[in-house]
């Protein structure tokens, strides 16, 4: 691999990794407050993509929209995906997890419910939206905008990366600077004491789900730009992002970002070196190596109660 090729793949890897990072945050947030692996998060992601598709089909960008209109379409599609993702995550918490929490169900039951909810949602989506893959209508001409270390970056990639960065910074500020963020951290540290201190746990948990859902939904839209929309699209990115969350240290938000980017870069670098079929293998090798030498993940420390 020449140096130029190295930069090419590195840029692509960081772009893809930033998407994984945004999805991984959804896993990590929920794990932080509930010690629950929300396996239905991949379906939140998938439904977010459908949300943007529906919005775009309603608006119908047509041929060659103006630059201003393009920005509008992107914003509306993003809003649609955020709405779908947020509502799905909210509903999930309300219907699937809260009743279990009220009854003090053991951890394993939560996990099985999560998997069940995931199956239910993706089959429901297949039934509702059809089982054919679809693509988002073109919102703009995907031109190259600038080059980074000689690697061309086009509009879609820039959009993908910038949105991910903005969302991650926003979330970091939210968690560290706001009252809700304080509540999230308090519940993550010790739910029982937090509730004694007057934190409304139900509300914090439900809002945490919505935040994760909004991020996941928008990631679904960005991903649909990269590939296409289908009812099975959540599974592979979902599992990969989950691995990224674990690599970064599950429960740790900055860890999820770092893990996502790391996994994205490793996956992409695998393609020219070993070939595409080794992509997932190399991601899982990274997971295993990290778990072997640092079981709590790269930036992980014990957050909240022992799982």
């Amino acid at each position: 691999m020449s140096l130029q090729e190295f930069w090419d793949y590195l840029v692509l890897g960081v772009m893809l990794g930033s998407l994984y990072a945004v999805i991984a945050i959804g896993y990590t947030l929920v794990y932080g407050v509930l010690q629950l692996i929300n396996f239905a998060h991949s379906e939140v992601f998938m439904l977010g993509a459908y949300g943007s598709l529906i919005v775009l089909q309603l608006l119908d960008p047509g041929e060659n929209p103006t630059a201003l209109a393009s920005i509008g379409f992107v914003a509306m599609a993003m809003a649609g995906s955020a709405l779908f993702g947020g509502v799905t995550a909210y509903g999930l918490e309300k219907v699937a997890y809260r009743p279990l929490r009220r009854r003090g169900a053991p951890r394993l039951i939560f996990l099985i419910t999560a998997i069940g909810a995931s199956f239910f949602l993706y089959n429901l989506a297949g039934k509702l939206f059809g089982r054919d893959p679809m693509t988002l209508p073109e919102m703009y001409d995907n031109n190259e905008v600038f080059s980074l270390f000689g690697a061309g970056v086009n509009i879609t990639q820039m959009l993908q990366f910038l949105t991910a960065v903005v969302m991650m910074i926003g979330l970091d500020l939210l968690v560290n600077r706001t009252k809700l963020g304080k509540g999230i951290r308090a519940v993550a540290q010790d739910a029982e004491v937090a509730s004694l201190m007057g934190v409304d746990i139900d509300r914090v948990i439900s809002r945490t789900f919505v935040i994760g859902g909004v991020l996941g939904g928008v990631a679904g839209f960005l991903f649909a730009n990269l590939n296409q929309v289908s009812y099975t699209m959540g599974f592979i990115p979902g599992i990969t992002a989950f691995a990224a969350a674990v690599v970064g240290g599950i429960g740790n938000i900055r860890g999820a970002m770092a893990g996502g980017v790391l996994i994205g870069v490793v996956e992409t670098m695998t393609v020219p070196i070993f070939g595409d079929e080794w992509r997932s293998v190399s991601a899982m090798v990274v997971l295993i190596l990290v778990l072997m030498f640092r079981p709590m993940g790269i930036l992980g420390k014990q957050v909240g109660r022992a799982a």
């Binding site: 692509l12 893959p133 879609t156 996956e267 595409d276």
Partner: protein, 385 residues
């Protein structure tokens, strides 16, 4: 141990006895003969299955409408999503329906590979309009019920290689398969053909459902290949085509019958422009012999016939002809033997099979995406010159 083996013996006997009584009662009761179709009727490649299903339905409806059959034909759908792991259940469903005497399908090579032992055991004939992996008709498999109604991928892959070598004078070809039975088989033949013609080949595998084709597209550009072969289905070919365009790939690209569907253009948009597509199928909308069929199909389903629609129609008519010859009183095995020996001149081509159930015939056709349509070019070997 003894008990177990008795049970093992007894169960099929009892089931068989029940089946026999079921057979005789239904045979004398109402004169309904069923023809099934097995293929993807849901899932990621549903468009390819529906093209064929409609061809089968049209043939059955027309035969019934004529009113001179003396028995009634019925259509049975069996959905395998084009997936090997769903294929056995789909096949079993058809086998268990005793009035099904023949199956059109399975549509995909992987599904055919897993379903064929079941069909062979049941003696139920399957005529596939589109399963093109060359190894399926290997006598070692003992797929005694499988007839192939289409030239296999040896022809398609060789056609691609010839076209690249002779017509486009390619120097270096980037060859990708999608790791399915179909894709790997097609790529294998193409690779051999290209190497024999002295063309450098970069062979890579990209599994289906890869979430991001950007890196692969970059790899294609960096490899400095001037031509590309994608052996797989449209669902993956479409996002790949998009990424190739974004990566600035300027060379030729060709894919096989798994991609030869309007869905490919729908999904890939402008990125599909100029892609070559091969198919052992003719274009029913263009060829003179199938113009009438295309109009009838359009009327019945409100869309133009797609890849393998006309072939499925032909195969169904071939089956109906044999059932008609037996005046509707057919048994599965006798129908299988009759079909294996039969010759039928359909709208698209003449169907006949060698002793392994392999199609006798070699014609492969070339298409190219032009102006958002799949434009028929003609016989690939004649075009290559």
């Amino acid at each position: 141990m003894l008990n177990k083996s008795i049970v093992r013996l007894a169960v099929p006997l009892v089931v068989g006895a029940l089946a026999l009584t079921g057979c005789s009662s239904s045979g004398s009761g109402d004169d309904t003969v069923k023809i099934a179709f097995q293929g993807p009727l849901s899932g990621d490649n549903v468009a390819l299955g529906e093209n064929e299903q409609n061809g089968v339905k049209l043939a059955i409806d027309q035969a019934n409408a004529k009113g001179d059959l003396g028995f009634k034909l019925e259509y049975v759908a069996s959905d395998d999503q084009g997936l090997p792991d769903k294929a056995t259940a789909a096949a079993q469903k058809v086998i268990d329906d005793e009035s099904v005497v023949a199956v059109v399908g399975p549509a995909f090579s992987g599904a055919t590979n897993t379903a064929s032992p079941l069909y062979a055991e049941a003696g139920l004939v399957t005529v596939s309009p589109s399963a093109t992996n060359p190894t399926l008709t290997d006598p070692k498999n003992n797929f005694t019920s499988l007839l192939r109604g289409v030239p296999n991928d040896s022809m398609q892959g060789a056609g691609m290689a010839t076209y690249y070598a002779k017509k486009l004078k390619a120097k270096k070809v980037y060859l990708i398969d999608d790791k399915t039975d179909y894709g790997a088989g097609l790529a294998g033949v193409a690779e051999k053909g290209l190497k024999d013609a002295g063309i450098a080949v970069v062979r890579k595998s990209v599994p289906q459902k890869t979430p991001d084709y950007s890196a692969t597209a970059k790899d294609v550009v960096n490899s400095k290949a001037d031509a590309l072969i994608y052996a797989g289905y449209y669902q993956d070919a479409a996002p790949f085509a998009k990424k190739l365009k974004e990566a600035g790939y300027k060379g030729a690209a060709i894919s096989g019958d798994g991609t030869n569907d309007m869905k490919f253009i729908e999904l890939a948009g402008a990125a599909s422009e100029n892609w070559f597509l091969t198919c052992p199928c003719t274009d029913a909308n263009v060829e003179a012999g199938t113009k009438k069929f295309a109009a009838e199909y359009q009327k019945a389903f409100n869309r133009a016939p797609g890849t393998y629609s006309a072939e499925s129609y032909d195969i169904t008519n071939m089956i109906i002809e044999q059932i008609r010859a037996a005046k509707g009183k057919v048994e599965r095995e006798s129908l299988r033997d009759a079909l294996a020996k039969a010759t039928y001149k359909g709208l698209t081509k003449t169907f006949s099979f060698d002793e392994n159930g392999e199609f006798k015939g070699t014609d492969v056709y070339l298409y190219q995406v032009k102006g958002g349509k799949i434009a028929y070019q003609g016989n690939i070997n004649q075009l290559a010159g």
